[in-house]
Symmetry: C2
Subunit: 409 residues, 2 copies
């Protein structure tokens, strides 16, 4: 018998009918002989309803009491799902985060899991129970209720799977898996059967918002195989795992997917003197303004001066530009320029580690379409280019076609 941890998000438990459907799905896995632990979120809309109540009292509300309030959302769902399972003749018990118990640090609204006691769950499983656990929540060492921040239910699922040494943590969502790229841009986009944690992290952080990044990092750290499946359709979904494994090498493509990000803006300081500490002097004020920086590029200096470029979220463009102009004066830089009509396109794949020529193939494909590359940045398993926003769809489609992602490798 295998032990499976399944996580169902807010949309999957958004009504009594859907909770009943989740019960049926869980039972279908139970009937195959698996021990089942189910993690659920608040019913969709419930968390927003609670936040709205709190805001009517205090628009700035946060901290301890907000966690006490929000955790009721999942508590309602666990009780209802346990009832639905019991009605079908399957013994079930629900637990809040505090009951399990899932111990976190004391950072209210964005706590991190420190440890999980699993004796109660193990005992219930041995008694033939299906165990239902509230996602997104825990308690600190003083028994104060905490939350893991939005999307934290994924993290709860992975953490429980790690603590219980589950065979898999299955995340049920409203998509049926991870795709080679966004099917709204490329209709031929293909569902991946398998992808590595590293690839998933690059895909997720670049805009394929299927899973919370924290949950993927957690799964990678504790080597918990993750599977993304649809709550509403049958199918195997996408398995996210440490490596492709011996039996799956045939499947391994050079690149796994194409991620993109529409919300980029680029800022450049030209002709700044190339001295130690200059990068800090430029980015310090940006960071102080709570602006997150994505790509950072600095080229080899020629005449003792250099050009320094970075990208930020498009919403932060004006603020970042003002800050950069002040820095430019201080550093006596030659010029400040910026562009908020750009996008980033990335190809991702562990395969490129061992294959030369992927980058030049990427640039060739884009050149054939007449797309001018504004910036290039690479990591071990990713190559990103920044191009004019008007080329986004054309670029993504050309790369998807050029690397033959629509065909099973």
């Amino acid at each position: 018998m295998a032990l499976l941890v399944q996580k169902f998000g807010g949309t999957s438990v958004g009504s009594i009918e859907r909770i009943e459907a989740v019960a049926e799905k869980v039972i279908s896995y139970r009937d195959q002989g698996n021990d089942m632990v189910v993690v659920v979120s608040a019913m969709s809309g419930e968390t927003n309803r609670l936040i709205e109540l709190a805001r009517q009292i205090d628009p700035q509300t946060r901290g301890r009491e907000l966690d006490v309030l929000l955790t009721t959302g999942e508590q309602v769902t666990i009780a209802l799902l346990a009832m639905a399972l019991q009605k079908r003749g399957y013994p079930a018990r629900s637990y809040t985060g505090g009951q399990v118990r899932i111990t976190t640090d004391s950072a209210h609204n964005k706590a991190r899991i420190k440890s999980i006691e699993h004796e109660k769950i193990t005992g219930d499983l041995q008694n033939g129970c299906i165990v239902v656990v509230a996602g997104f929540q825990g308690v600190d060492e003083f028994d104060n209720i905490t939350t893991l921040g939005r999307g934290g239910s994924d993290t709860t699922g992975v953490a429980l799977a790690a603590a219980l040494k589950a065979q898999e943590c299955q995340i049920f969502t409203d998509v049926d898996g991870v795709y080679t790229t966004d099917p709204r841009v490329v209709p031929e986009a293909r569902r991946l059967n398998i992808i590595t944690f590293e690839e998933m992290l690059e895909m997720a952080s670049l805009g394929s918002k299927v899973l919370q990044i924290r949950a993927v990092e957690f799964a990678q750290k504790y080597k918990v195989p993750l599977r993304v499946l649809s709550s509403f359709e049958e199918g195997e979904g996408t398995l996210i795992t440490s490596e492709y494994g011996a039996d799956k090498t045939m499947e391994q493509a050079l690149i796994s997917g194409i991620a993109f990000n529409r919300d980029e803006a680029q800022l450049t300081l030209n002709g700044v003197s190339d001295t130690p500490g200059v990068a800090y002097q430029i980015l310090g004020p940006i960071s102080d303004a709570n602006i997150e920086v994505d790509m950072i590029l600095q080229n080899v200096s020629a005449d003792g001066t250099t050009d320094f470029t970075f990208t930020v979220h498009r919403n932060d463009f004006e603020t970042a530009l003002d800050s950069l102009k002040r820095t430019a004066k201080k550093l006596k830089a030659r010029e400040v320029s910026g562009n908020n009509k750009i996008v980033k396109i990335s190809i991702v794949g562990v395969g490129m580690r061992s294959h030369a020529g992927i980058a030049s193939r990427m640039f060739e494909i884009l050149a054939n379409e007449g797309i001018n590359i504004l910036m290039i940045s690479t990591s071990e398993i990713k190559i990103s280019v920044v191009v004019d926003e008007k080329y986004l769809e054309l670029g993504v489609r050309a790369l998807h076609e050029g690397f033959d992602l629509k065909s099973q490798p």
Copy 2:
């Protein structure tokens, strides 16, 4: 500095505006230098909403998971009230029953409190915090969430007041105190400043449904002074206490109030042989049918046979009559009779203990109005009569006037 426990019911916290008003009220007591512990119910309508969700899954639902579901109601209120207090600059911390912790037995949906740890609350009070506690809930020894049954928030308030040795437990409701009788029947009915636990129990069980009987019993057992006040109006309310105390003897009336019950029905077995065990043989089947018996009367036997009379709720009249007819056959009784057009009127007062002649004064007042008394039953601090239902208002008004209850004693 005194320590006060205040309890606000569902209507008093039924909207954000009302929660803000409760915060203002609590702060007004805090500003007078009191340490404050506040117990709240779920916002009115919320418990019914949750029950409705559960019933959509399983109309028969009860037990452990129902408690997990329902306790979210108060958890929402404690968080919102704590936020409202904090917004006004008053440090506040909320606790669920499990966090406090309030330990109960494992009888889900109708658990009884076994013990209360109060170290956290005491610590918070010493730090100047207002403490907000969820009513109606606790955990059993295995950390399972339990509820005390409907109205259990009053019990939580009293139990906390007892554990914390509070000066008073103040129950805020939608009435401004306990009255000499129902003002809808007697417009001159007067709010009592003070009443004993015993009197309150007689008044409550006879229809003045201001407080939960269990909470009053609990307060009596642990000698916690209770005060009933209005959430919406200013006023001192009614203090419910062990005895009238030396300084309050002036106030002590012969009788404190007049209770009545419209829903009575009477059943009589005439000419049943007066042998040991006959009472059990008559009432056993009634009890087996889950019918609660109120008054029981059996007169001294004359010819070896006796008449046995009891009253039940009017809704149970037909069932009880059928049962009694079967018993009559078995016991070879002469006759079965019944009347479901009767009411019970009671005068209540610890004063009657030490004063003879209260009963005859009561019968005189009723006789002067031409009211025929069908049954009489007495306890130490109560005299009840059963009369035809058409005399209810006339009888209650005549007694209120005859014992001069409208005037402050």
